[in-house]
């Protein structure tokens, strides 16, 4: 009720509940990059020094040393990240198409979810839901804006002088083939570089997508929801993913309505 009241005060009326769904097969590319599935060309073969692609190498930490098959590698998993971001973006595009057929000026309160509803192995269901809104007595609608923000927060965003532009989903993924240190081998204790590097690289990739979207569509990204995931992959390896979903905002007015929040102590149990 309070949310719809805030939207009414902005002159926005709900036009309908809109939805976009896509089922994707999400497969990692890093296995091939690491040399799996190739005959004799993998890094396990004698005399080779590991993947030839751009990969960070983490040699074995033991005193005797071992061959390259014992080493650790961090490889960017572009196909995995691309299929995830394709899934999110397609769901949002379909949601926006539904909103356009309703003649809406925008979609507010968008929620993005991922599940394994149908399809079984490696089949992911991406779903975007939101409320299409129309500006009452407004100009003819163009491309509807999309945002996860709604209600009083949207009202405050407008009061701050920012217009919602578009929802942005940013994904980064790294395939991690761990070495002995990364596996937590207690005979070589100490600092572990490989895990922070993988997390940092995945997050950096996602963050640069956010920056790119902000540069193209507006002035900044707010309300970003981050999730870091670690999905098991070949053997002891895993895929480290960073997913960031936010709203690109664009400044339309340097004038802003000030807020004067007052501290209160609620008298409730």
């Amino acid at each position: 009720m309070a949310q719809s009241g805030a939207l009414r005060r902005l002159g926005l009326a709900p036009a309908g509940f809109v939805l976009g769904t896509v089922v994707m097969q999400v497969v990692s590319s890093a296995g091939a990059a690491a040399g799996y599935g190739t005959l004799g060309g993998g890094y396990g073969a004698f005399g080779t020094t590991g993947p030839s692609r751009a990969a960070a190498r983490y040699p074995c930490a033991h005193m005797m040393g071992y061959g390259a098959d014992h080493w650790g590698y961090n490889i960017e998993d572009t196909a995995y990240a691309a299929s995830l971001s394709y899934g999110y973006e397609t769901a949002v595009t379909r949601l926006r198409d539904e909103a356009r057929t309703l003649g809406a000026h925008g979609v507010v309160g968008i929620e993005l979810t991922v599940g394994d509803l149908v399809g079984g192995y490696a089949s992911w269901t991406f779903r975007a839901t939101g409320t299409a809104v129309v500006l009452v007595n407004g100009p003819p609608p163009g491309e509807p804006f999309t945002t996860g923000i709604t209600g009083q927060h949207l009202e405050r965003l407008i009061a701050l002088g920012y217009a919602p532009a578009t929802l942005v989903t940013a994904v980064g993924a790294m395939y991690v083939q761990p070495n002995c240190r990364t596996r937590g081998d207690f005979t070589v204790p100490g600092p572990v570089d490989q895990i922070p590097q993988a997390i940092g690289a995945a997050r950096d990739r996602a963050r640069s997508v956010l920056h790119q979207a902000a540069t193209v569509h507006g002035d900044g990204v707010v309300d970003t929801r981050w999730s870091d995931r670690r999905s098991p992959a070949f053997g002891e390896g895993w895929i480290q993913t960073a997913v960031a979903i936010g709203t690109v905002v664009r400044r339309f007015d340097t004038d802003r309505t000030p807020a004067a929040p007052r501290p209160v102590v609620p008298l409730r149990p």
Partner: protein
């Protein structure tokens, strides 16, 4: 605990609890998420709040201070019994006037119109995981978001060495090293962005099999706004802005030391801290591992039938807590802090055939008091007429 445990007002509040719960109590926008104690309108029933206005076309006076909230409430309103005088405390000020729906609808039009202009392709974009409410609160104390910053650190240890003091120290070192290397990675990112610090940092500790700890941090870097270079300041209404003043004093508070600050405190807590005259100095960590002798075989098998204290293990818990707290104290003193708040304890026993140890990890946010000292916020008492949470009834 160790001698002078630093404490500040609110220091005994567990993490997540707000010392003085505040709302971004803008009558037009009480935060819907449920994480805020809900503000039904404002505390003056005389002021019509647009929350209740259906359709949004009711005219709401914006500039007028709400009746009953002035410094000298007139006799009729206080005598009627219908509008309780909120406060005659001049420091409290008038409640915020509600947002004018007509003006807001016009702004919404302008916001839609900007999409038809070609994008500005601004060079300096920001990224933030803060909500709009958080941005409003930061703006009010004079800070703006800069970028998302992150850091991670990992370290492993050999648990079998826990029988020796040296092994215990190496273990505790690994716990601290994972967190402090994440912290220094965040610090590097803050410095390259010329940020003043990071708020609402998500700090996750993940344990992997094989005695490995990974610490990840992620948060929004913020920078104090230049008070001279903000053209749109306080133009709509005459609400006095605290922003510039707080920005100045807090800037002075943390420029006394070397670098940018980081804290796990939420943007709301940060807002309250800055208004109360404090400033975070940084995250402080203390870790300790204390080993103890294994019980005798008879005890372990349950053949010993005496009810008695296992004093070795009690002692190990005490010693580990003392060590961890004093290490955190030492870190806080090193950054010249006045206290540590939002401290989280994680105690973990480690039991196996060979390893008998207790491991304690303490993480908190060090605070520094500004030059002006503590400023009372004069929080308004608010009696909510909502039904309390269902668990209140269940508890009787």
């Amino acid at each position: 605990m160790t001698g002078p445990t630093p404490s500040t007002p609110g220091g005994d509040t567990p993490r997540g609890g707000t010392p003085t719960p505040s709302t971004p109590s803008t009558p037009g926008s009480s935060t819907p998420g449920g994480d805020t104690p809900s503000t039904p309108g404002s505390s003056t029933p005389g002021s019509s709040t647009p929350d209740d206005a259906p359709g949004g076309n009711g005219t709401v006076p914006t500039g007028d201070p709400a009746p009953g909230a002035g410094s000298s409430p007139d006799a009729t309103s206080s005598g009627s019994g219908l509008s309780p005088t909120v406060s005659s405390d001049p420091t409290l000020g008038a409640p915020e006037p509600p947002l004018d729906p007509h003006a807001m609808a016009q702004r919404m039009r302008a916001a839609l119109a900007v999409r038809h202009r070609p994008p500005a392709h601004s060079a300096q974009v920001f990224a933030s995981d803060l909500t709009v409410g958080d941005l409003v609160l930061l703006d009010e104390v004079g800070y703006q978001p800069v970028d998302l910053v992150s850091g991670a650190g990992s370290a492993s240890w050999n648990p079998q060495m826990a029988s020796s003091q040296q092994g215990c120290d190496a273990w505790a070192w690994a716990l601290t090293a994972a967190i402090s290397s994440a912290r220094s990675a965040v610090d590097r990112e803050l410095r390259t962005r010329a940020a003043d610090g990071v708020v609402a940092m998500q700090l996750h500790l993940e344990r992997h099999p094989g005695n490995l700890l990974t610490c990840t941090m992620l948060g929004t870097a913020i920078r104090a706004q230049d008070p001279d270079a903000s053209p749109g300041r306080a133009t709509h209404t005459e609400v006095p802005r605290r922003g510039a003043r707080h920005g100045h004093s807090s800037r002075a508070a943390h420029h006394g030391t070397a670098g940018p600050f980081n804290t796990t405190l939420s943007a709301r807590d940060f807002h309250l801290l800055v208004r109360a005259g404090y400033h975070p100095a940084g995250i402080t960590v203390g870790a300790a591992v204390v080993g103890f002798a294994s019980r005798s075989v008879a005890q372990g098998m349950g053949l010993s039938r005496d009810n008695m204290e296992l004093s070795d293990q009690t002692g190990a818990l005490y010693a580990a807590r003392e060590q961890a707290m004093s290490r955190m104290d030492a870190e806080a003193k090193a950054v010249d802090a006045d206290g540590v708040v939002a401290v989280t304890f994680s105690e973990r026993p480690s039991h196996s055939m060979l390893v008998h140890a207790v491991e304690i990890l303490v993480v908190g946010t060090a605070l520094r008091r500004g030059d002006d000292g503590h400023q009372s916020l004069h929080p308004a008492l608010q009696l909510s007429l909502d039904d309390p949470d269902p668990d209140v009834f269940l508890r009787g």
